[in-house]
């Protein structure tokens, strides 16, 4: 099985936010929740770069390590998913996540946290694949249909890459070789300790 990952080639990202919009549309993500966002570093200064960031589906994921109810699991493809039936909305995964991926709907009297929502790599959740129940909780399951995540699929500059970690890393390295520069594989060191297979 391939170990799937995301890779954002920041030298190609034009901060169009189409990945953000496509994600929201594909999964009907509720208002106020962003599974993916584009962050611009050094905005307005020379050498500014934009990075599209979502859950990186870490190796040895910190969210899974700290969850008090152990609601996370990693699929055979290396996608980190969670069960909203088990989640108690405590916020621990948000504290531990290096990428700010976990999101919570504001519910209850105090605007406290509801059940956590995050990028699923378009792979749904523990429910049976492509069922209405799965869609309602986790959104579309494109992986089950043999498709890659919508954000990367429709990226107009092919900045955001999704797929087998070894292959997308190779594509990125070829690009860097050819053009002579690259701002780095954002988040990889933190998420996978730089390991192409990890």
């Amino acid at each position: 099985m391939a170990r799937v990952k995301f890779l954002c080639d920041a030298d190609r990202c034009i901060e169009c936010n189409a990945c953000v919009t496509a994600c929201k549309n594909e999964h009907e993500v509720p208002w106020g929740i962003n599974r993916r966002r584009v962050v611009t570093i050094n905005d307005g200064k020379p050498g500014e770069r934009s990075v599209s960031m979502a859950c990186m589906h870490c190796t040895d994921a910190p969210c899974a390590a700290v969850c008090p109810v152990s609601c996370f699991y990693t699929t055979a493809d290396g996608v980190v998913l969670h069960s909203k039936d088990l989640c108690i909305g405590c916020g621990y995964c948000f504290y531990a996540c290096p990428f700010g991926a976990p999101q919570y709907p504001k519910v209850g009297n105090f605007g406290s946290r509801g059940k956590m929502d995050k990028c699923t790599y378009c792979a749904g959740g523990p429910e049976a694949d492509s069922t209405p129940a799965e869609y309602a909780k986790y959104g579309a399951n494109r992986l089950a249909e043999g498709k890659l995540p919508i954000c990367a699929e429709m990226c107009s500059t092919k900045s955001l890459l999704a797929g087998d970690g070894a292959i997308i890393a190779e594509i990125y390295k070829e690009r860097v070789m050819k053009r002579g520069y690259g701002s780095g594989m954002w988040g990889w060191k933190t998420a996978y300790s730089d390991s192409p297979t990890g």
Partner: protein, 341 residues
């Protein structure tokens, strides 16, 4: 520009060069721009990561309303994970199991602290009903808060394997609700306790004497004199007040996670909340011990509110004198013979 001029001169000489020269002239602004190499100055993730100080994060600008989304990478999350998974179990384990061990050893070595003169059969009011209500309001909230809090830290390891994921998650969700809501009566109880008992809990010279004599923990017949609260009880009062305030402030931010706004602040408050909680629970175990099995006659103070006169004289001699002077308590009677055990 001299170079352009020379090219123009060349162009007069050889028409075939003219086309090439014109191309160069028009291309030269682009070539000049390329020599700036804008990409060389571009943001590099590695440089940013290396330049990060501990607890810092790589942030930028986002065009969505959620400001916290501007945090791109916060490596401090790994430290927080390490605290939760590696350090906190040790802190909690040592504090709580250590306290239980100390209390068990103390019970075995010292035994129950008896009323040396035996029970007199006469009682006097130690805690009025409102004081007892406040105590038990706070105490019952504390116990549920402590158990539901410990469930967050240790439930996954200790209870999840017994209950299975579904039952454990359901239980934990209810525990979280209880934890969130019972925080409020707990804070109310804390505030009332502070108001009604602060006047009797100001540390004084007597407390120093009491502490120097070991508080009479070591022998039944020698108890240093104390007013309404001895130094040990004052210690518990201040542990509850200071610990309770720290728990309330840190808990408040966790209860309303959108208040501090920043993940770094939330991480800080969770660490404070967890560490203080473990120490607080350990201290309360000692309090529960000495108020129940640890000392004969002590529970009545918070049970019926009426304590035995001999117990009161042995532990709070000056307080009994005060009360007797006020005329609220029966005058001294000769002590009964000590029953043989």
């Amino acid at each position: 520009m001299p170079s352009s001029l020379s090219i123009l001169r060349l162009a007069v000489l050889k028409p075939s060069f003219a086309a090439l020269a014109l191309l160069l002239v028009f291309a030269s602004p682009a070539a000049a721009q390329l020599s700036f190499k804008p990409t060389a100055e571009a943001v590099q993730e590695e440089k940013l990561l290396n330049a990060l100080k501990e607890g810092d994060k790589i942030t930028g600008r986002v065009s969505i309303p959620d400001g916290s989304a501007a945090n791109l990478i916060q490596p401090a999350g790994r430290d927080w994970r390490d605290f939760q998974r590696s350090k906190l179990p040790w802190i909690g384990g040592i504090a709580i199991l250590g306290m239980l061990a100390v209390l068990a050893i103390f019970l075995m070595v010292r035994g129950r602290i008896r009323v040396h003169q035996g029970f007199s059969g006469k009682t006097m009011l130690r805690f009025a009903s409102f004081e007892r209500f406040t105590h038990w309001l706070t105490a019952s909230c504390f116990i549920i808060l402590a158990l539901s809090g410990l469930n967050v830290s240790f439930g996954r390891t200790l209870i999840l394997p017994l209950f299975g994921p579904d039952a454990f998650a359901t239980m934990s969700a209810w525990a979280k609700l209880a934890h969130n809501y019972l925080a409020f009566p707990f804070m109310l109880g804390l505030a009332i306790m502070f108001v009604i008992w602060i006047k009797d809990n100001i540390p004084g010279k007597l407390d120093w004497e009491w502490l120097k004599q070991g508080g009479g923990l070591l022998s039944d017949d020698k108890h240093p004199p104390a007013k309404r609260f001895n130094a040990g009880q004052k210690g518990i009062f201040w542990i509850v007040i200071i610990g309770g305030v720290l728990m309330s402030v840190s808990g408040w931010f966790l209860l309303f996670p959108y208040l501090p706004g920043d993940v770094t602040a939330l991480q800080f408050w969770t660490v404070i909340h967890a560490v203080i909680a473990m120490l607080f629970i350990a201290a309360m175990l000692a309090h529960i011990y000495i108020g129940s099995i640890g000392m004969e006659g002590a529970f009545d103070a918070m049970g019926s509110g009426e304590v035995d006169l001999n117990w009161a004289k042995e532990h709070h001699a000056l307080w009994v004198e005060e009360q007797q002077a006020k005329g609220g308590v029966a005058a001294d009677t000769p002590p009964r013979a000590v029953p043989a055990e």
